[in-house]
Symmetry: C2
Subunit: 275 residues, 2 copies
Amino acid sequence: MRLFKRILIVGVGLIGGSLGLGIKKYKLAKEVWGISRKYTTLKEALKLRAIDRGFKVLSLIKDDIDLVILATPVRTIEKLSPLIKKYIPQDCIVMDVGSTKKEVVDCLDRIFTNYIGAHPLAGLEKSGVRYAQADLFKGSICILTPTSKTSRSVLNRIKEFWKNLNAEVILMSPSLHDRILSFTSHLPHLISFCLLNSIPKSYLKISGPGLKDTLRIAFSSAEIWEQIFTSNSKNLISALKVFKDNLSYLEKALIDKDKKIILKFLKKANKKRFL
Amino acid sequence: MRLFKRILIVGVGLIGGSLGLGIKKYKLAKEVWGISRKYTTLKEALKLRAIDRGFKVLSLIKDDIDLVILATPVRTIEKLSPLIKKYIPQDCIVMDVGSTKKEVVDCLDRIFTNYIGAHPLAGLEKSGVRYAQADLFKGSICILTPTSKTSRSVLNRIKEFWKNLNAEVILMSPSLHDRILSFTSHLPHLISFCLLNSIPKSYLKISGPGLKDTLRIAFSSAEIWEQIFTSNSKNLISALKVFKDNLSYLEKALIDKDKKIILKFLKKANKKRFL
């Protein structure tokens, strides 16, 4: 179902590239254009048919665009937005797909007329358009964070967009998004990075399948995750406090050799239903 | 290749059951017998053909056995061993497959004449014979922890046993095993249990695939893991200290908003080669 005429994707990495492939697979736009700093990325995206045309410079975009998707790391989204505003039609819908929302939404809501924040909870520990998949968002959750400024029609078109990519759409405020994701995404990543850095190199291969799963996300891009951590640091520090309290509780039980407390704590985890 | 005449598996759970299936698939013994406290487990193991005969009571075992595999949780291994000694031939080889080795090996090496400790680094977050697989150990590492008391012939036969199940055999001392595994298995489990207990229940489903991977091992049996943690508590507490130091280091950088330090820390993790 054609929802847009021409979509511009700024940042053609894993997420941007997958959006391009998805838009084309489900025919959500007539044309997909892409912007990247790197010529090699554009070449790869064109070859994979994730985009129809690629640009290195914003000023080259002369024709009409009705949806801009900002799919760069979060700080780059904020930095590029004032510049992007100059080159797109006033009424163009702008959506970012950054992993944190409060800072980004506060910033972009002021810049663009028709802006909405999105965060598809999909991805891999790998980055780059070469890993892009048309159905990356299939069966995953996409959080939209409309504000009082967001028009009903923008929200409905963007909802339709994600539903056509087979994602389940959930609405919440940017603040609630950042609080929840600090626990379910940012904290687990922080922990995984710390765990990997704690294990002596020569020990790593003496392990079973459990370790590989736990450490998978520690191979996520350092550049992207530094920006996520710092743009949601307040929530992340709070979530980390809860985790550290649990660690200390279990550590004390270990030192005290209190088997009952340990067993009770582990059983509490076992009982949690996941998904 | 027939290596043994009759193998007795004490504890027919995921590991014990998978050993039974593997022994039968690769014809490593003429007969496999199993012992379990629970009648339903024996029935299930017999139905799955993981064992040829099942017993609830040790004293019923009258015939010759040339290999006993102890596959119960670690503390039960230590508790049952003096009793098992009464019912098996003096020269019978005894192997445990417990997840910690120092305490168990110290204890069993004194009890049995022909004992060797083993730890196959395979498993699932699920327990019970119903999840048993003949090829659970294929491509995994099996650590053997011979002592000065272990005879060359026992070591060679047990090496052969695991190689026939397609596991890669590594030898090390019980102490080194416990130190390494405290980092690569016990600490990750402890962290995963703590992480799951830190996330508010209603937040859990607002997550992507990364969280599921990180939390998979938090659904491992509380009973088994309480015993692993407490029987390797000294090493685990040391490993936890290293991890907590890393957490505090990253937390401080977050509070200080020191992007450079954060980026450097995450890049250090990214660069580690895994497996």
